[in-house]
């Protein structure tokens, strides 16, 4: 379990991470979603002790990362797949990691196989690796200590579709076996497909968090009826705000059950009632981060 409590990190006047709190629970994949520069990487760097927090804390099973006796055996970390010595072979990089953790050298071969790096590839220097291969090597370094917590920053970057599928299955397997998985991404689709819990961050603040189901439900309801005026009246009467789409459907932030009840009480027959999850997380994500995003309209 990873617990982040009231974490703040400032660089001079710039607040990179602004008082965020969340937990990543065992047995679940937690997606850490946000646009570039939102503070995801800074938060993860604080978690693994590379950057001291200005205030607040991040703990693994209640312990600060720097207090873990042999962190590699408990927490698998991949922050940046490009941050590997270009003049070392992949095998050497993995060997050093295994040595540091006190693992036998046989674990290196097993792990190389697990991340599908061939012996020839492993014997090449990282300088000649594609981003996808570096990513596999980085994942190997994170997994080799057989940790129960994984902290991965943009692990799907540079992987081909088959690689992304492989990664997804791997993380799912880890969570199903009781591990805690925290992965960040600005790729909405990736998070939507794999995560159980989602934490959305924008400009250093958490803008939404919860289970994927909750967040999708919170995206609201789409409702249609042959009597739009009557329904609009019923919703207004029930204190539900809504908008009318061009196609005549009403959209609201309220959940479908509540909307259905109001419609029934008003005696208004519906032709359609559904959660507005068709558009997926992307709409929610863009909406939630619109006013904090760089590209956003004047905030």
């Amino acid at each position: 379990m990873i617990t982040v409590e009231s974490l703040t990190r400032k660089y001079g006047d710039h607040v990179a991470v602004d008082n965020i709190s969340f937990t990543a629970r065992p047995g679940r994949v937690t997606g850490f979603l946000g646009p570039n520069g939102a503070g995801k990487s800074t938060t993860m760097r604080v978690m693994v002790g590379l950057t001291p927090p200005t205030s607040g804390s991040a703990t693994i099973e209640g312990k600060r990362f720097v207090d873990l006796p042999n962190p590699g055996r408990e927490v698998g970390v991949l922050l940046d797949a490009s941050a590997q010595h270009a003049g070392r072979t992949g095998r050497e990089i993995l060997t050093i990691a295994a040595m540091t953790m006190g693992l036998p050298s046989s674990s290196v071969d097993r792990m190389l196989e697990r991340v599908s790096l061939t012996p020839t590839e492993a014997g090449r220097r990282v300088r000649n690796y594609s981003l996808g291969m570096r990513q596999r090597l980085g994942i190997a370094t994170a997994l080799i200590g057989d940790p129960h917590v994984l902290i991965l920053d943009e692990p799907a970057n540079g992987l081909d579709p088959a690689g992304i599928r492989w990664m997804r299955d791997l993380l799912r397997g880890y969570a199903n076996a009781g591990g805690t998985v925290l992965l960040s991404s600005h790729l909405l689709h990736e998070i939507e497909v794999i995560a159980d819990d989602i934490v959305v961050i924008g400009n250093g603040r958490i803008v939404a968090q919860g289970t994927k189901d909750e967040l999708l439900a919170a995206a609201g309801t789409v409702v249609r009826t042959a009597e739009p005026v009557a329904l609009a009246e019923a919703l207004t009467h029930g204190g539900v705000e809504f908008t009318t789409s061009d196609d005549g459907a009403l959209r609201t932030a309220a959940d479908p059950a509540h909307v259905g009840q109001l419609a029934r009480d008003a005696g208004c027959a519906l032709t359609e009632l559904k959660s507005a999850d068709g558009a997926g997380l992307e709409e929610m994500f863009l909406e939630l981060t619109a006013d904090t995003q760089r590209e956003g309209a004047a905030a």
């Binding site: 002790g49 099973e61 720097v66 590997q84 591990g179």
Partner: protein, 273 residues
């Protein structure tokens, strides 16, 4: 976490990873030393620097045998022929062992596997000193072989002109040189910058200081107390006087210990990006 005892029948739903929560032992310093020693030489640059040391040592020994007059076939000449490439190149390896963590960004992994920079840097420092001593033992050993071989080819008695105390001071000089490389690495934390600084420090400033001393008498008087390279020279000239030791100490403090302390302070605070 407390260990839970669950019946094997429940194994299908019991999270295997959560159950296997053995508290791992810490990382002993001996292991860190082994890892850091390996990291010094398992990069492409490390490997080539090692190869160049070996190649230069062979070249230098051969050159002494071929070109030196019989009178110059001495232990001192053989040992310095082999020692010189080491003294020039090993400090670069010491520098890179620190700077690569930043320039190559491998520190991101190093400092998360061992989230105590002080321990990692100390391990690097100990390895640096050990490599310096080992390099001297090797060059004195190979020098002895070269001396025996050279003397027997020339048909003369081998000349053993390095005393035991000289061996110690020469070794100290090598270690100091390694520490200079290390210090510049810690202080600058950028491979290219630190290597340039090393060459300026060791090969540009000393001749300038010498030049200044020949023309300016005030600098000639100050030099033994200001010029670290000058005082390191004492170590190659046999027994040091108490005054020379204190001059070495003062210059070493200013040019090595103080910047190293500043560097160590900065290393622990600097962000590994």
């Amino acid at each position: 976490m407390t260990a839970t005892t669950l019946a094997p029948a429940e194994g299908t739903t019991t999270p295997a990873i959560a159950r296997r929560r053995s508290v791992s032992a810490g990382i002993p310093t001996r292991r860190l030393l082994k890892v850091e020693l390996r990291k010094m030489f398992n990069t492409r640059s490390g490997m080539w620097l090692m190869c160049s040391i070996a190649a230069l040592a062979v070249l230098a020994t051969t050159a002494v045998m071929v070109f030196a007059s019989d009178a110059d076939l001495t232990y001192d000449n053989f040992a310095s022929a082999i020692g010189f490439p080491m003294v020039v190149i090993l400090p670069i390896i010491a520098t890179l062992s620190v700077t690569s963590e930043w320039s190559q960004r491998s520190g991101l992994t190093t400092f998360t596997l061992v989230p105590h920079r002080g321990r990692v840097i100390t391990a690097k420092l100990i390895v640096t000193v050990a490599v310096g001593v080992a390099a001297m033992v090797v060059s004195l050993g190979i020098g002895a072989l070269g001396n025996l071989l050279g003397a027997s080819i020339a048909g003369i008695d081998p000349v053993w002109d390095i005393s035991a105390s000289q061996m110690l001071t020469i070794t100290l000089a090598t270690v100091l040189n390694m520490l200079i490389g290390f210090m510049l690495g810690v202080l600058i934390r950028n491979s290219a910058g630190a290597i340039v600084a090393y060459f300026v420090y060791n090969f540009v400033l000393p001749p300038l200081s010498m030049l200044l001393a020949t023309s300016q008498s005030w600098w000639r008087d100050l030099q033994p107390w200001m010029d670290f390279n000058f005082t390191q020279g004492f170590l190659f000239q046999g027994e040091l006087t108490a005054r020379q030791w204190s001059q070495l100490g003062v210059t070493g403090l200013v040019w090595l210990v103080v910047p190293l302390a500043i560097g160590l302070f900065l290393v622990r605070r600097s962000e590994v990006k």
